[in-house]
């Protein structure tokens, strides 16, 4: 970018009072925008710092191995942590293959007619639907109509529905970014459509797909509203062992602890948040690394 004030011409320019004022204003503006950008970082630091300060003292070994309790000293996050891990695994297994498959179909196989265009547009819209609406859907469909109750599988299904559009969009984008030349070369050599997809398109699109999937699952892990709607319970002091078991999850536990006015529970909530953040942010970081590494090479 050009240096300030060095536009065009040369020594023939006169810098009158008007120009000096504009220059000064410009420099102030730069500072203003810098502060704006730094504001976000500052806020992030304050949030993380405050949470760490409140929660650090609770992060002992028995915080992870204890179950919830009405006594703050005894309370731990074993049940919600297990619930979250269960949800993470189930959601990944249910949502990722179907979403990636749908994206492949939409990008590589589907004819370009009004129907597929409508489906594509709809999926883009679905990604913007508030998560609590998915919660309503989960309540009506899984808890009530299918009679699955407030169980682990209801929660996992609801979260899977929530993140499917997000994964599809990310996968579509990754697949679309693969240049046509790659496909055309393969076709010219006589490859079948599936061979082209499997051996040419997918390997190139994989980093984008994987990072998109990881980001989507990390979003599912952090969601509370859909779990509230399908009925995750308040006091769970056990690890779910089957898909039909009642369950709780880290965000739910944070919500319950935050709701209690006693100071000690605030600290517990902060500690649970730390665990949740470690989980979510490390997944975000992994996705980021995968995506940026794919940009550096090749």
């Amino acid at each position: 970018m050009k240096r300030e004030g060095a536009g065009g011409g040369g020594s023939g320019l006169e810098w009158g009072a008007g120009s000096r004022r504009r220059l000064a204003r410009s420099r102030v503006f730069e500072v203003v925008t810098l502060f704006a950008a730094l504001f976000g970082v500052l806020v992030l630091a304050v949030i993380l710092g405050d949470i760490l300060l409140d929660g650090a003292r609770h992060l002992s070994g028995h915080f992870f191995t204890n179950y919830a309790s009405r006594f703050p000293e005894r309370a731990g996050i074993r049940a919600p942590l297990m619930g979250t891990l269960w949800l993470l695994g189930l959601t990944t297994l249910m949502a990722v293959p179907v979403s990636v498959g749908a994206a492949i179909y939409l990008e590589e196989y589907a004819p370009r007619n009004w129907a597929t265009r409508a489906v594509r547009a709809n999926i883009a819209n679905l990604a913007g639907v508030p998560s609590i609406v998915y919660g309503i859907l989960g309540l009506a469909l899984f808890v009530r109509t299918l009679g699955l109750g407030g169980s682990l599988i209801s929660g996992a299904l609801t979260l899977s529905l929530l993140i499917m559009p997000i994964i599809i969009l990310a996968a579509q984008e990754a697949i679309r970014a693969v240049p046509h030349g790659v496909r055309e070369g393969a076709y010219a050599l006589g490859a079948s459509r599936w061979q082209v997809v499997r051996h040419q398109v997918l390997p190139l699109a994989l980093p984008g797909i994987v990072s998109g999937a990881i980001l989507a699952v990390s979003r599912a892990v952090g969601e509370t509203a859909p779990l509230i709607m399908i009925g995750a319970m308040s006091f769970i002091a056990f690890t779910p062992e089957s898909l039909g078991d009642p369950f709780t999850a880290l965000p739910m536990q944070v919500f319950h602890w935050v709701s209690r006015p006693q100071e000690e529970f605030k600290g517990l909530a902060a500690a649970a948040i730390v665990v949740l953040l470690v989980l979510v942010l490390s997944m975000n970081a992994a996705a980021f690394v995968i995506r940026s590494r794919s940009r550096l090479e090749g």
Partner: protein, 314 residues
């Protein structure tokens, strides 16, 4: 260059005349079928959401007049003196979203200007991901922040303010949507061709003038799109408002008041496990449908603005 049709419909072979084994044909067809099934599931999802919401909403409106719903100023569906005006909930959601926008939109655009016009690539590589972290933080964490940091701070600033108020929620929701505004705006600014900037510099413009009079107008569609999408996100936010804004449906424009947003109402009723078929159960769908339609409009507007008014095609 041979024009190879990439997607001419499932099963059509690009190079006619090639001999293929029967087994491979079967595999091709199976694969196409499986993938098509995946796509069908996702298509079903799009239809399913609307169907589920619509069916119970229709049931709701068989008991409540649409006119009262849309124009009534009192929301008390569960008390004895029933009243089904959605405006208080709507105003609660809008109040929080507007407050959040007041915080996020200027800051987001200014940050985007900094990142695209002033920051060195090294600084941008550090700053941008950091700001995106804000978007990855789960919403219940923002509820915690509202409760422990923002509400006490606001109560120190405005002594008359209640424990539950819309402003608290607005602040944290604003922080939450800041990355959305910033990243979409920055993308729009970076797409502006360098030539435009250089032409302005050549004419003696200062950097600020280039940024505000060339870059931002050129990327305006992206900025507008980011506004719509960010507001849509703010409207759909549940946890922070449930924790901080309160449970009193209040038709008010004062951010210091307690309000109830559409999302908080849905969460409140949902926690009470209402019986299917009751009016209480149906209010979930009526409010949910309203929320769904509102965010849908915002999203569609956002995407449309982005695609239609692209001044600059990269």
């Amino acid at each position: 260059m041979i024009e190879m049709p990439v997607s001419v419909g499932a099963g059509s072979l690009p190079a006619a005349g090639l001999v293929r084994s029967g087994a491979r044909m079967h595999r091709e067809r199976l694969v196409a079928w499986v993938l098509g099934l995946c796509a069908a599931i996702s298509a079903l999802l799009t239809v399913g959401i609307v169907l589920v919401l619509a069916s119970e909403t229709v049931g709701f409106f068989s008991q409540v007049s649409l006119w009262e719903f849309l124009t009534g100023t009192r929301w008390a569906p569960l008390f004895q003196e029933k009243s089904f005006g959605i405006l208080p909930l709507l105003s609660g959601s809008v109040l929080v979203a507007l407050g959040a926008s007041v915080l996020a939109l200027p800051l987001g655009v200014l940050s985007a200007i900094y990142l695209s016009e002033y920051a060195t690539p090294g600084v941008r590589a550090v700053l941008k991901p950091l700001l995106e972290v804000l978007a990855g933080i789960p919403t219940v964490v923002y509820g915690y922040v509202a409760l422990t940091l923002v509400t006490p701070a606001l109560r120190a600033l405005f002594p008359g303010i209640g424990v539950f108020n819309a402003a608290s929620a607005s602040v944290v929701v604003g922080i939450m949507i800041l990355p959305t505004v910033m990243s979409l705006s920055e993308e729009a600014f970076r797409a502006v061709p360098r030539g435009l900037r250089e032409a302005a510099f050549a004419l003696g413009a200062t950097k600020m003038e280039v940024a505000t009079q060339v870059v931002v107008p050129a990327g305006l569609s992206g900025v507008l799109a980011s506004f719509f999408l960010a507001i849509s996100r703010a409207l759909g936010e549940t946890m922070a408002v449930t924790i901080a804004a309160g449970n009193s449906p209040n038709l008010t424009l004062n951010p210091l008041d307690a309000v109830q947003t559409m999302t908080a109402y849905i969460a409140q009723v949902g926690m009470g496990s209402p019986a299917a078929g009751t009016l209480e159960y149906r209010t979930l769908f009526a409010v949910g449908m309203t929320l769904f339609l509102l965010t849908l409009v915002m999203n569609v507007l956002g995407h449309w603005v982005r695609n239609r008014f692209r001044e600059v095609i990269p």
